[in-house]
Amino acid sequence: MFFTADYEAGSKRASGLFLFCFEGETQVMIELRNLGKTYSNSGKPVIALEDINLTVNDGEIFGIIGLSGAGKSTLVRCINLLEKPTSGQVLVDGKDLTKLSGKELLEMRRSIGMIFQSFNLLEQRTVLKNVCFPLEIAGVKKEPAQARALELLELVGLSDKKDAYPAQLSGGQKQRVAIARALATKPKYLLCDEATSALDPTTTRSILELLREINDTLGVTIVVITHEMRVIDSICDRVAVIDQSHIAEEGLVSEVFANPRSDIGKQLILRQDDAESAFRSFSGKKLRLVFDGVTSTKPLISEMVLACQAPVSVMFADMRDIDGIAYGYTIVELPDDQRQADKLVAWLNASPIKYYEEA
């Protein structure tokens, strides 16, 4: 009797544990495993993506940044299989899309909205009919489809333009219509392929705010592809940096921004040009002091200088406010006097500041 009860308790705990694991797995909503894409260009293979491993979590805004030609557009198209990967798996809600039949894939795509740099609206349809399009395809009747479309136009702030044609709208308005259209079938995911690259800075900001709002209020998981830092900076939770068909690095935006490890990450984030021209005029040993939010509230550089009685020159600094906490880094040059320099390094070693020697 006693033994049985214990056994039951044990199995309950085991199943609880199993449930926990299961939850852990479903939280990962989009997962790319060893993804590769090779094109054949007149017989010669061209690698567009190689060995891509990424996970996009439930409810987050995930950014993918890279220079043009890095493979980021191919990557986002592999998520809804507009591009068929040549190797690896694309798991959405645990289902491997590369294994789905044609019909199942069409169904699946209705749960993944997508918006584009060039908006891609149907030019011969009104705004309302554009938003109705995916519902028509999904077999929704006209009346409920129009009601849903009006609801979405309300959300994106274009109710008054419902009878206009795309040619009569500005770029920002077109992208709003495209967002409304992408959300019509209530997708869990929204893929944004350079969605703001054709827009001016003010319009970009308003579109990004709209995406943030959609993420907050509807809980839509968003994947953003861009070559612009400010896009990642203003809305993304996590970021992956892609370079030459590979993921160069990946992490929380705050971490990657404060301390990019890959060359391409440094190039994109630290605006290498500015930084390098600043370095060239100095010759002493340079240290990069990284502020990760914990240490940035105190005037640390002043404290260091006062404690060591040694001067440092600040050569470059890039600090930003992310979610109310300061992140960033400062590059300082140590004095030529070796004793003073050693003192400063010793002080830094004892302090919570992370630092790296700059080349």
Binding site: L105, L106, R110, I137, Y165
Partner: protein, 225 residues
């Protein structure tokens, strides 16, 4: 100025009937040519290597058939196809036979016209439809054709004018219409005025087709605010 023959043709109603025959042949042949050419043109576009559903062999075969008929000058094709006309409508002379040869001559032309119009649809728009889970057949009916509509109408106008020209050539083999009047009563009986009357009437018909077509395009194309 005008010859006796002109008044005779008008009073007997031959000229009026010729106008009607030309219009009828043109409209009917255009319609029939589109019934064949529209699906073939769409198929050419869809099965292309960059199309929605590439099917290499089908694209090759269709392309070869279309090119074959397109490369034969119409006046020769017309004579060559009289046997086919006889097999289909039971006669090798008159407007029925001419319509068959016109359709055979015009359908490949229409197919290429449709193909190029449909290819003009922005690839991004097609991609967006695919991203929304649209099956290929619905991409054709709900995206390709409606989005290409203005170009398709312009193409139809050009095709119709070409078919009108073909129908006049058919006058040489007894096809009826203004072409036959120009040849029989004008050229063969040395009435230059009859030739010119036919020319002017043809120009007027072409002009009307052109204007009406462009009016439809202007009224229905939504790309201009």
């Amino acid at each position: 100025m005008l010859s006796e023959m002109f008044y005779k043709l008008v009073s007997s109603g031959t000229l009026q009937y010729g106008i009607w025959e030309t219009i009828f042949m043109t409209l009917f042949s255009t319609l029939a040519a589109y019934i064949i050419g529209l699906p073939v043109g769409i198929l050419l576009c869809v099965t292309d290597k960059n199309g929605l559903h590439p099917v290499r062999w089908l694209n090759r075969v269709l392309g070869m058939i279309v090119n074959f008929f397109r490369s034969v000058p119409f006046i020769i094709l017309m004579i060559a196809m009289l046997g086919v006309a006889k097999a289909i409508v039971g006669t090798a002379i008159g407007d029925k036979a001419v319509i068959v040869t016109l359709v055979i001559g015009a359908a490949p032309y229409v197919a290429r016209m449709v193909e190029s119009s449909v290819k003009e649809v922005e690839p991004g728009v097609i991609e967006a439809a695919q991203a929304m889970g649209t099956p290929n057949f619905k991409i054709v009916t709900k995206v390709l054709v409606p989005e290409a509509k203005p170009a398709l109408i312009v193409g139809a106008v050009i095709s119709m004018v070409t078919i009108l020209g073909y129908s006049a050539m058919a006058g040489t083999i007894g096809g009826g219409g203004l072409g036959q009047i120009a040849i029989n009563y004008g050229y063969q009986r040395y009435n230059n005025d009859i030739i010119w009357v036919c020319v002017i009437l043809t120009v007027i018909i072409v002009q009307i087709i052109q204007e009406v077509g462009m009016l439809i395009v202007r009224k229905t194309d939504r790309r201009v605010g």
